[in-house]
């Protein structure tokens, strides 16, 4: 997996102050995407052990609430595969940090059995994620006034609850 950028001390992609990882590769190709260059799975630099360490280090201060996975799309199957052990490690080493993820896919359609992005990793991967913002970006529903999402159709979900019950609960 490649990644295009890491943003430290970000406050726009999830509650609190966060580290944000932009992974590369997305097949959604939403019209009006704010960074189409990250659609390419080969964009950016390889996601190495050193990068992982760097991110984990950045999560250590008490003022950092957690990590946000952005893209690209972290729910693309090949990205899930790399990210699963990474988020697992984070939950083990820094249990008090929360994890947000943004995907253009739909949790209850594409990330469930027989869904477009469902793999053997998906359920476990989602179990480590606290909040999932899902749904494609729709330019016509864009508003600057939305909280933690770009277009009104997107949903900010309680991911833990979804994994346990299959139920969709929007928390904002």
């Amino acid at each position: 997996m490649n990644y295009s950028a890491i943003k430290y001390c970000d406050i726009a992609n999830g509650t609190g102050v966060r580290t944000v990882l932009f992974v590369s590769g997305c097949r959604n190709h939403c019209k009006g995407c704010f960074q189409p260059e990250t659609w390419d799975f080969n964009h950016g630099k390889p996601f190495t052990k050193e990068v992982e360490e760097e991110i984990i280090k950045s999560l250590q201060p008490t003022y950092i609430q957690g990590l946000t996975l952005l893209g690209g799309d972290p729910m693309e199957p090949e990205n899930q595969k790399v990210l699963l052990p990474f988020v697992k490690k984070i939950k083990e080493t820094c249990p008090d940090k929360d994890i947000w993820a943004y995907t253009g896919y739909l949790a209850d359609k594409d990330l469930v059995l027989d869904g477009k992005c469902y793999t053997k990793d998906t359920t476990e991967f989602l179990s480590y994620i606290d909040v999932l913002v899902d749904g494609p970006y729709k330019e016509e529903e864009y508003s600057i006034m939305l909280k933690f999402k770009g277009s009104a159709n997107q949903r900010v979900l309680d991911c833990k609850h979804f994994v346990q019950t299959g139920e969709i609960i929007e928390i904002m």
Partner: protein, 720 residues
């Protein structure tokens, strides 16, 4: 060989200048009394000889005395007379009245300088114009009569800034901590009328605003009051309500138990608090003092300042109401709720309110919401302040001036009722540029400039010396600052560190960059910047020891002086990249507005400099609209509590009246290259249909800014 100019700066001695001056005087006398070329040369050479034989640099005046003597030695008395007349005329020009044009342009509203000076004053309003006219006269008198020429010249050249010369003609001080507690508990006198201890919270609030108004007209700087001094009156109201409620129900023939009565009483108490708090808010922003503006007042919110129990819980209720009312805002002329500039609010972070499980966490959460929406409160960390101030925690005077710790002869610490005598700011960038990167020279110029500052500060002090308590009875006789007798001079309050006097400094960032090629955040350059701070503190300590006057180092908020300094620097040294290439220089120890650094790193870095600005300073972090991420605001506040004494968040919560957008209105460049404000949601550019609030100095500005300041605002890097 060097000479000292009137400004106190050194310049290379130029023999030609002496020859030219003598030749001019010589040419204006009749042929028979003229000196020969040889005589002129003899005079100038002799003068040069004397100068070089001295072990010090001579001043311009001293050299002119030498020249006079030499001309007379040559028996050329007419030439000498002309030379003396010329000197005298030049001195007259320097002292000439130049206010007429200033005042006329002011009255016709085309005085640019005045228009840009203070974003809280509207120069088209009659009462403001009166204040400005007085200001022009004061500046003129200050320049021509009250200050020694070397201070005036250094001020005009931007080597130092002699603040508030528009008030210097009068015997006025700068800012203060109001001893509201004493005034309310023991009574006071306002405009000749006795005011006794109030019998309710709302009356106490009413009296407090009267006091604020009076004080604001008797000094030129900011003032602070503490809600702790108002909180005890909540219980006085409560007792009254209890009596009333019992009486009312008895009259109505209703029998209520104690619990029922108390619940009625408590609801009246809350209404009373609401009324009192609203009175302070509205009176303060609608008042116009004789300074032509709303009073610069800060309200201090510190739970631990009152005893635990009833009073502290009442104080918590008052704080909660202040925050709630500020969050809702104040209606502007169009009826839109906007961010008021005053009073400024300070909230103390302490062990009782800083963690989720602490008793007053709900207030801290409310404070975070208020900061996100209205840019205030600013935050004081009790934890850090106790370490820096001998175990004390107290407010600054107005926006950032802090008093030194002071103990009364009886041994008690005292803060309320103390004040600041005034400020003179040293332009550190000029010291650097004058040294031409030579380190030894840098330190010796710094020492010279510090001497100049001391002289200027002593002028401030001496202007207050001998002032009668009669000039401002509310301050000096009726408790705001003291209870002196009528006609008693205020002198004893000017010594023994009772009041402070501030050595301000500006441009540590650019100064360090010029000398080391690195900004002061670079670990290799930080020690140099800290060494400068140490020099400033050493100088203040030395002066304090010698005079007992409370000299202290102060991170000046600069305001419009930032342009003056940058203009002067460009005139004196040209454009030097990273040093003099902006229309502003950086305040105090602050990290440059364009430097990439995150909020936490910035606060941590700046904390070490704040420790070395005991006379006052504030750090800020520039952040986007955070209304939807209060968790992040709280994270910054908790970090402040652990790391830095006094800091603020520059949030953005603007409002577009066209589309209702509630977030950050942006600065864009229009077709003509001019910077304009634009709503990112509906692209509205009509400034009259949007509300923008930005912190541009110590206080919030809600008028718009000139292009230079707008440029600076646009260039601010976000720290989150």
């Amino acid at each position: 060989m060097k000479i000292i100019k009137r400004s106190g700066t050194e310049e290379e001695f130029d023999l030609q200048k002496i020859e030219t001056a003598i030749t001019k005087a010589n040419n204006s006398v009749v042929e028979s009394e003229k000196m020969s070329e040889e005589q002129i040369q003899e005079i100038s050479e002799h003068v040069e000889e004397i100068i070089s034989s001295m072990n010090r640099s001579l001043s311009v005046e001293e050299i002119q005395d030498l020249v006079e003597n030499e001309i007379m030695q040559q028996q050329a008395f007419s030439v000498a007379r002309n030379y003396i007349t010329y000197r005298y005329e030049r001195a007259l020009v320097r002292k000439a009245n130049s206010t007429d044009q200033q005042i006329l342009s002011l009255l016709e509203c085309d005085n640019e300088e005045v228009k840009q000076e203070n974003s809280n004053k509207n120069p088209t309003v009659n009462s403001v114009q009166r204040d400005y006219m007085a200001g022009e006269v004061s500046k003129d008198i200050t320049r021509r009569f009250l200050l020694p020429p070397e201070i005036v010249e250094a001020h005009e050249q931007g080597i130092i800034h002699f603040h508030d010369s528009d008030y210097f003609a009068q015997h006025m001080h700068n800012c203060c901590l109001v001893n509201l507690d004493d005034m309310l508990q023991n009574g006071t006198v306002i405009s000749g009328t006795m005011i006794e201890k109030p019998h309710s919270f709302s009356t106490a609030c009413n009296i407090a605003t009267q006091i604020i108004a009076q004080i604001a007209s008797s000094q030129y700087g900011g003032q602070s009051i503490s809600l702790s001094h108002l909180a005890p009156f909540v219980d006085i109201s409560r007792h009254r309500f209890k009596k009333e409620v019992k009486k009312e129900f008895t009259l109505a023939g209703l029998e209520l138990n104690e619990e029922q009565i108390n619940s009625v009483v408590e609801s009246r108490v809350l209404e009373e608090i609401n009324r009192g708090v609203q009175m302070i808010q509205y009176q303060v922003i609608t008042l116009m003092t004789t300074n032509g503006q709303a009073p610069f007042v800060t309200v201090f919110m510190y739970l631990d300042e009152v005893p635990e129990g009833r009073t502290r819980d009442d104080l918590a209720l008052v704080i909660e109401e202040v925050l709630r009312q500020r969050i809702s805002g104040v209606k502007n002329e169009a009826g839109v709720l906007i961010t008021p500039a005053f009073p400024k609010l300070i909230y103390v972070l302490e062990e009782d309110n800083i963690t989720e499980d602490s008793k007053y966490w709900h207030l801290t959460k409310l404070a975070a919401e208020c900061t996100a929406k209205r840019m205030v409160p600013d935050y004081i960390s009790k934890k850090v302040m106790l370490e820096l101030k001998e175990g004390n925690c107290y407010p600054c005077m107005g926006c950032r001036s802090f008093l030194n710790v002071y103990k009364e002869p009886e041994g008690d610490y005292k803060f309320y009722g103390r004040f600041n005598q005034g400020v003179v700011t040293l332009n550190l960038v000029d010291v650097a540029c004058s040294s031409g990167k030579d380190m030894d020279k840098f330190w010796s110029i710094l020492d010279e400039r510090l001497e100049l500052c001391r002289k200027a500060l002593m002028c401030r002090h001496e202007r207050l010396l001998g002032t009668s308590s009669d000039v401002a009875p509310i301050l000096w006789q009726y408790g705001a600052l003291a209870r002196l007798d009528k006609g008693e001079p205020i002198d004893k309050l000017l010594f023994n560190g009772y009041s402070s006097i501030s050595l301000g400094y500006a441009g540590l960032c650019e100064c360090t960059y010029y000398m080391t090629g690195m900004t002061h955040t670079n670990p290799k350059a930080t020690p140099f910047a800290l060494e400068i701070m140490k020099r400033l503190n050493d100088a203040c300590d030395k002066w304090k020891k010698e005079t007992t006057i409370g000299f202290s180092v102060y991170g000046t908020p600069l305001e419009s002086t930032t342009y003056k300094f940058s203009k002067c620097l460009q005139n004196r040294f040209g454009i030097i990249p990273g040093v003099t290439d902006k229309n502003y220089i950086t305040n105090s120890y602050h990290v440059h507005v364009t430097e990439q650094i995150d909020a936490f790193e910035k606060l941590k870095f700046e904390a070490q400099f704040q420790n070395m600005s005991p006379g006052g300073a504030i750090s800020y972090v520039e952040v986007p609209n955070m209304s939807s991420n209060l968790e992040a605001v709280l994270a910054v506040m908790q970090y402040i509590y652990e790391n830095i004494m006094y800091a603020e968040l520059n949030t953005k919560s603007d409002y577009c009246q066209v589309c209702g957008y509630d977030g950050e209105i942006q600065i864009v460049t229009d077709e003509d290259g001019k910077l304009v404000w634009e709503c990112p949601n509906c692209k509205n550019r009509d400034q009259n249909k949007m509300n923008v609030a930005r912190r541009t100095c110590g206080y919030i500005g809600t008028q718009y800014w000139n292009q230079g300041r707008t440029q600076e605002i646009k260039e601010r890097v976000l720290h989150l």
